[in-house]
Symmetry: C2
Subunit: 195 residues, 2 copies
């Protein structure tokens, strides 16, 4: 039916336009006028689809979290030599989260609004952080020669150290204040686990 196709088209165009605006200007900084203009629809159409500004925002972030699987989430269980497995995992994590401008902007937004939209932060963690922690944690459990007492906590330090690097370097662009090349943090993190 024509009405269904058109409705769905507008629905998605609104979400795309809203995404651009929210990622660039933040929640409070985004106006519904501008979202309407960017999406090429009238404000009334937005309100009929999403109720209000908060409804639009929540719909948008959930859609993002569900559409874009985390780079780690789609990974199979890890197998192979620890040094190579860990290096590839670390490189993938840093490169894929650090080179996607939309992802970086979403992290900024999610953290900035986490006190006003706590569910969004939780959705984000469930989709992006938790799967990566689990896959590394499982791998460490299967490597008794590494002598790791607490694989879950160790995975958290390992992944956390890498994510913190991306946050400082890419999300808040603090690379000038505490400069450090990508490969040095990767090798240091691996060395800690292997020694």
């Amino acid at each position: 039916m024509t009405s269904e196709r058109e409705a769905s088209g507008k629905h998605d165009r609104i979400l795309e336009g809203a995404m651009q605006e929210f990622l660039q200007r933040g929640y409070a900084g985004t106006s519904m006028d501008r979202v309407a203009s960017t999406a090429g629809v009238s404000k009334a159409t937005i309100y009929s689809h999403f109720g209000d500004k908060e409804g639009l925002f929540k719909a948008l972030v959930q859609q993002f979290a569900q559409s874009k699987l985390g780079p780690i989430q789609r990974q199979q269980p890890l197998t192979g030599e620890p040094e190579q497995v860990l290096r590839e995992f670390a490189q993938t994590l840093i490169d894929e989260t650090g080179s996607d401008p939309d992802h970086l902007a979403l992290v900024r937004l999610m953290i900035g609004e986490s006190s006003r939209f706590p569910q969004l932060a939780q959705t984000f963690l469930r989709h992006f952080l938790k799967p990566g922690l689990e896959v590394i944690s499982e791998y460490l459990k299967e490597q008794p020669q590494l002598q790791i007492d607490d694989p879950e906590a160790t995975a958290r330090v390992f992944v956390g150290g890498l994510i913190h690097y991306v946050m400082v370097d890419k999300i808040i662009e603090g690379g000038e204040v505490v400069p450090l090349r990508r490969d040095r943090i990767i090798e240091a993190a691996i060395a800690l686990l292997l020694s």
Copy 2:
């Protein structure tokens, strides 16, 4: 002079009121009307002191960064047994940054606005992150028996892992999604450095 004393009093009251509002509502979510009301002055007074909203915001964050020294920044160079030194450092970092609501709110704000106010993020890193990295980095350099090839990068993984824990648990309150007790992350981080 009376005029000086009074001007200074209002100046500080405005900064304090603005701090409350910005930390709670974000930059765009804060209105100058509300700042004026919270500070107990008129809007015109704020504009005469700080020019515009952006000027007020910048003055505020710089004042915060300069007044509150990071818990690590005021520390002397570390000395003693590695296990005890590292444990105390980690506990201090997690407890002091994780239990100060203003500090947590400032991190949320700083990250959320980092693309629109990059200097604020840099100021923050210079005052809070860099000193901690340096003190740990220096300590690791003086412990050859730990066999750490790259003390700076290793310090970054160690500190980053701890800060990431605080960010997930306290800043975005994701403790339910990826629960982990404070002591487990501390012991896991220490074990990585000692093994």
